[in-house]
Amino acid sequence: MGRPTPLYFAARLSAHLGGAKIYLKREDLAHTGAHKINNAIGQALLAKKMGKSRVIAETGAGQHGVATATGAALTGLECEIYMGSVDVKRQALNVFRMKLLGAKVNEVNLGSKTLKDAINEALRDWTTNVRHTHYVMGTVFGPHPFPMLVRDFQSVIGSEAKKQVLKAEGRMPDCLIACVGGGSNAMGLFNEFIESDVKMVGVEAGGKGIESGEHAARFAGGSIGVLQGTKSYLLQDEDGNVLGTHSVSAGLDYASVGPEHAFFREAGRVCYTYATDEEALAAFDLLSKTEGIIPALESAHAVAEAVKLAPQMDKEKIIIVNLSGRGDKDVQQVAAIRGINLQ
C-alpha cells in the first residue's frame, strides 16, 4: 500500500504564508491515491476471513470505490459499487478506474443523487444479500461496529505521523488539520493524539456559504438526528427529513458526520470549522503552485484552514495537515468550473 506515507515539510507553502511550519501527511501517495485504501484493504481481508464471496461499497468522490475495487481484486472477491449519478458525472475518471479493476458500478438516481443516496442503496443491497456479502463502509459512519472498525483501520495515519514528527522535530505538533466528510481521514489522524493536548481542527464543506443553505457543514448548520444507523449531527428540516447538501467536493458532500466526531465536538476536544468552495479552490491552486502537489478537492479544504491559521502562529509552531488524497480525479471538474474545455 506504500506505507508509511511520508510526512513532508512544505517549505515553500510555509514561507509563503509566513507563520507556522506546515507538514503534510502524504496520504495522497498511498496506493490508489488516497487514505481510503487503509480501510478498504482491511475490510476486504475481513470479508475474506468471514467467508464472504462479495463486497459492496458506496462512494462519493470515487476514492473509496476505487480502493474497495482494488481490495476485491487483490483478494478475489466479487465487487459492486454504488455511486450517486451527480458524482458519477463529476468523478468520471474514478468510475472508469473502478471498472478497470473489475468492479460493477451502479449509478444511483434517487434523492440527492450523491453520497447519502449511494449509502441507502448499498444498505438495501446488503439487507438483501447479507448472507454472502460484506458491506465495506467507507467512513466512520453507519451502525456499530463500523465507526470503530474504520477508525482503527485508519489510525495508522496518526501513529505514523506521530513517530515521523517526533523524528523530524523532536517534539509533538501544535495543531492537526483534516477535512471532514464522514470523517475517516480526520479520525485516522486524530486518534493517536486524542490523549495529548495537541489542538485539532476538522474542516467541513462550507459550499456556497452557510447562509446560502447550500453546504455540508453539519456542525455549523445541523442538529442531532438519526440516519443510516447512526446518531450524530445531521442537516435536516424541522420534521426530520434530511436536507440536500452541496459541496464542490463529492467526498464531503454528505448530510451527516461520524458519531465520534460529534462526541469530540461536544467534549470540546476537536474544533470544527468549514471552508467554502471558493476557499478550497484557492487552496487547491496555492498548493499546486507552491509545492507542486495537486491535492484532492476534499483535502484542499484542510489546506484552506492551514492558510487561515498558519499566519497567526509563530514560526516555530508546527501544523500537520492530512493531505488525504491527490487531485488528479478533480482536474477535469476544476477545468469545467473555470470554463476550460479539455476535450
Binding site: G111, K116, T128, V130, L234, Q236, D239, G240, N241, V242
Partner: protein, 260 residues
C-alpha cells in the same frame, strides 16, 4: 396494558378461524384527501388493520415503489405531524386499527414522549419503525406500554433464537415477520427453511405473527395466510392505487378473499 384495538382484532379473527388482512398505504400519496378515500376503500374491501406509511426522505427498508410514493407525499408537504392530525380526524369516522410505519428520525425529531402521547391521543394503535432495533428502543417501548400503543418489531429470516426471543419480548400487538432478506416490493421467494423458521417464531411469540415484504398477488397472500396469523401487503397496493386507481377495488378484494 389493556387490550388494544389490534389485539382485539386478532382475538376476534382467531375465534372465527380467520387470518388478518393488513394493507399498507403511504399517507399523503398523492395527497391527504386521497388517503382519506383510500382508508374507506380499504375498509370496504375488508381490511382488518391498516398500516399508514409516514413519508421520509431516506426510506432505507423500501424498494422503488414505496420510495417514489414517499417522494410524492413529501412533495405534497405531508409530515409525521400532519399524519397524526390526519389520524385524529379519521378516528371520528372509523374504529379500524391504525398503525404508523415510520422511520426513526421523524420520531426522534418530534420527541419520543410527545410522539407517543400525541399518537395515542389521536387514535393511533401501533407503530412500526424498521430502522429502530429493539436494542435501541427501551425508552420508546416503556412509554408506549404505559400509553397503550403497540410496538411492532421486525424479525428477519436470518434472526437466530436469541434474536427471536428479544424481538418477541419487545413486540406487542403482533410481530412483523419479514418474508425474505431484502427490501419491500421485491418478488416473493420463500427460502426452503421458511416454514421451520416461522414456526419457531410463532412458538416464541405470545403475540400473533404477521408476514410482509414481497406479498403482491392473491396467490402469495394465500400461501402466507396458510402459515401466518396475518398478511401484510404494501408495495403492490401502493403501486395499484398510483397506476390504476379504478382497478384497485377489485385487486384489493381479491387479496382479501385470498387471505380469508
Amino acid at each position: 396494558m389493556k387490550q388494544t384495538r389490534i389485539s382485539k382484532t386478532f382475538s376476534r379473527l382467531k375465534a372465527s378461524g380467520k387470518k388478518a388482512f393488513i394493507p399498507y398505504i403511504m399517507a399523503g400519496d398523492p395527497d391527504i384527501g386521497r388517503t382519506r378515500q383510500y382508508i374507506s376503500l380499504l375498509e370496504e374491501c375488508g381490511a382488518d388493520i391498516i398500516e399508514l406509511g409516514v413519508p421520509f426522505s431516506d426510506p432505507l427498508a423500501d424498494g422503488p415503489t414505496i420510495q417514489m410514493a414517499a417522494e410524492r407525499a413529501v412533495a405534497a408537504g405531508v409530515t409525521l405531524r400532519k399524519v397524526i392530525s390526519f389520524v385524529r380526524e379519521v378516528r371520528t369516522q372509523t374504529e379500524i386499527p391504525l398503525i404508523l410505519m415510520t422511520y426513526y428520525n421523524p420520531v426522534f425529531k418530534y420527541g419520543e414522549e410527545k410522539f407517543v402521547s400525541d399518537a395515542v391521543d389521536a387514535g393511533v394503535d401501533g407503530v412500526i419503525i424498521p430502522d429502530l432495533p429493539p436494542d435501541e428502543a427501551g425508552r420508546l417501548i416503556k412509554l408506549s406500554r404505559a400509553a397503550g400503543l403497540d410496538t411492532i418489531f421486525l424479525i428477519a429470516p436470518t434472526s437466530n433464537d436469541k434474536r427471536i426471543k428479544k424481538v418477541a419480548s419487545a413486540s406487542s400487538g403482533f410481530l412483523y415477520y419479514v418474508s425474505m432478506t431484502g427490501i419491500t416490493g421485491t418478488k416473493l421467494t420463500l427460502e426452503a427453511s421458511f416454514l421451520d423458521h416461522i414456526n419457531k417464531v410463532k412458538q416464541a411469540s405470545k403475540a400473533p405473527v404477521a408476514v410482509g415484504f414481497g406479498v403482491s398477488t392473491p396467490d402469495d397472500a394465500r400461501t402466507i395466510a396458510g402459515v401466518a396469523d396475518g398478511v401484510i401487503v404494501g408495495s403492490a397496493i401502493v403501486k395499484k392505487l398510483h397506476e390504476d386507481p379504478e382497478g384497485a377495488r377489485d385487486f384489493i378484494k381479491h387479496l382479501r378473499e385470498a387471505v380469508a
